[in-house]
Symmetry: C2
Subunit: 370 residues, 2 copies
Amino acid sequence: MFPSHEALGEVYVAILAGGSGTRLWPLSRQARPKQFLSLVGQSSLLQQTVARITPLVPPERILVLTGPDHAPLVAAQLPELPRENILVEPSPKGTAPCLGLAALRLRARASSDQAVMLSLHADHVVTAEERLRAALRAAVFTAREGYLVTVGIVPGHPETGYGYIERGEALAEIAGQRIYHVARFTEKPPLEEAQRFVASGRYYWNTGYFAWTLGRILGEFRQWLPEVTARLEETAALLSADPNPEAPPRPWAEIQPITIDVGIMERARRIAVIPCDLGWSDVGSWAALHDLLPSDAAGNALLGDGLYVGLDTSRSLIRGQGGRLIATIGLEEMIVVDTADALLILPKSRAQDVSALVKELRRRGLGKYL
Amino acid sequence: MFPSHEALGEVYVAILAGGSGTRLWPLSRQARPKQFLSLVGQSSLLQQTVARITPLVPPERILVLTGPDHAPLVAAQLPELPRENILVEPSPKGTAPCLGLAALRLRARASSDQAVMLSLHADHVVTAEERLRAALRAAVFTAREGYLVTVGIVPGHPETGYGYIERGEALAEIAGQRIYHVARFTEKPPLEEAQRFVASGRYYWNTGYFAWTLGRILGEFRQWLPEVTARLEETAALLSADPNPEAPPRPWAEIQPITIDVGIMERARRIAVIPCDLGWSDVGSWAALHDLLPSDAAGNALLGDGLYVGLDTSRSLIRGQGGRLIATIGLEEMIVVDTADALLILPKSRAQDVSALVKELRRRGLGKYL
């Protein structure tokens, strides 16, 4: 029913693996952020992302975009990936410059402007993997029709921390997968608005999963971000001469950070959304991770290889390591994360405040723990 | 006003240092229990106990009673103490056999039955040290008059975890220190009874601080515990030939454990109590220790040399060590105790349950963490 690799045509996947994952400190560290950790299952979120996509696209066409510090980690975790498919983002500039540079470098490889680029994030969990692949197949065909395509997640609750996509008219249906025009993008809404969005059935979470042809996206860059695009072209030329410069190339350094949503998606026309129920999570906090993990009868989830003994402890996440013993009495809905050099303890309800804690550690000169 | 060392006459102090302090796990361990730890101030509770008593009694007359495993630790912490003053209790048998054996061994050293033996515990905190010494001076004189003497603590609250001493008629006053006949000993009372005790003004906490002449206490042992006493005499003879036997001597091993309160004090006549307000604590739990430690403006007390960063954390005790960082968000009235191999987290209100946890660890074969 669905086309094979070949029938899908020339498709590249760009996996964004440049996040810092500070809300999962102290497990997620600058040297080894969230996407490189085995949080759910035995392999890392990055490895799971690649495994999820390889039934659609072979490793030769999967690119990982990451910072210079993490390129060796990507190579170690993905030995099947050609080394030249690890594209180093010289310094963090937001998703627009990152995806624009990837599109330019792909254009130098691809046979035509009609080659499709999919973009995914390296640090998400997707449990309905076949549904994601079905959505991405539909996205490829929709992109070839000239659309910018987004995957929209059917929202499970009125989350205020995500952007929303409002659907417009129906556009098509491919193998049972409905596709809509996008009416509007909305940044993180207040709670009441989020509640209305969810109740309406016409809004989806914006995951940042995209599909477009190289011709279409590069055209959008030239139209909406002409100065950025000029600097990206200079950067691409410099990097093709010296792929691992000691410092970010000057034109890259001059770029003002901007997201693909603000820079392109909220301005462009002819955008499609493919709604999907993926069992998706961005694992955005310890509370979110707790909800993803299997729990015992008391609702406790254990992570890591530490030793744990609890009395009257319930609905808590305990993460230990090595031969260290964690013992608790009378904890409810608490998060305990123990690592070799740092220990974090907080109520699950305060999970969003870990990034404030990380800022405080930096302010106090405790960067060596980050 | 008060007599010097010499004027106090022949006085020995026996410090009981055989406790296991399990309610302060994981800091208090089998290999290094509570009395050997520096919990309040720079020296250990044992060292503080000895320092507290040396203005009254010179080190040559201070004995420390402890188990075979801990004798080297006593010697290391108290280099000024003659080695023969460390009396090894061959195995735990409760306070009656321990004090009886000490009395027998002291009798072999002392010049007469009129020599006075004071007994103290190694793992208590006393902030009003001069008041304790005044009470013990009065206790020595009262003991010479033929009394078994106890120090009673003026109770600060209706504690159900301690024994109480009810005072009877006034007996004497020495240098402003009132002394009463004891009417009755009561083991740990229910809350309502404890409340009545405290309200009456006639009850004191039984600290287990005693004074008696060697003649009087050995007479009581022979009267109330004749079989125990016979075995203690055999044990004393065996130990004087071989002070460090590989296994407990057979007569000692045959003794049934019993406390001095049950074995002697609750049966004997002519007992005196010296009421005293000592700023006393038996440091019987993490909550009790928290109350003894200096707190910051948020009521948090820090122990150990760990690094600590807290957001919105109040009225909590945080104990860390080494270069490890402990970070907390949103904790209230919590206890966090981190050590090299074990971490304990509990609400302050559950501090009494640490001994249940220790039992659970033993049941699970995790004795190496105890």
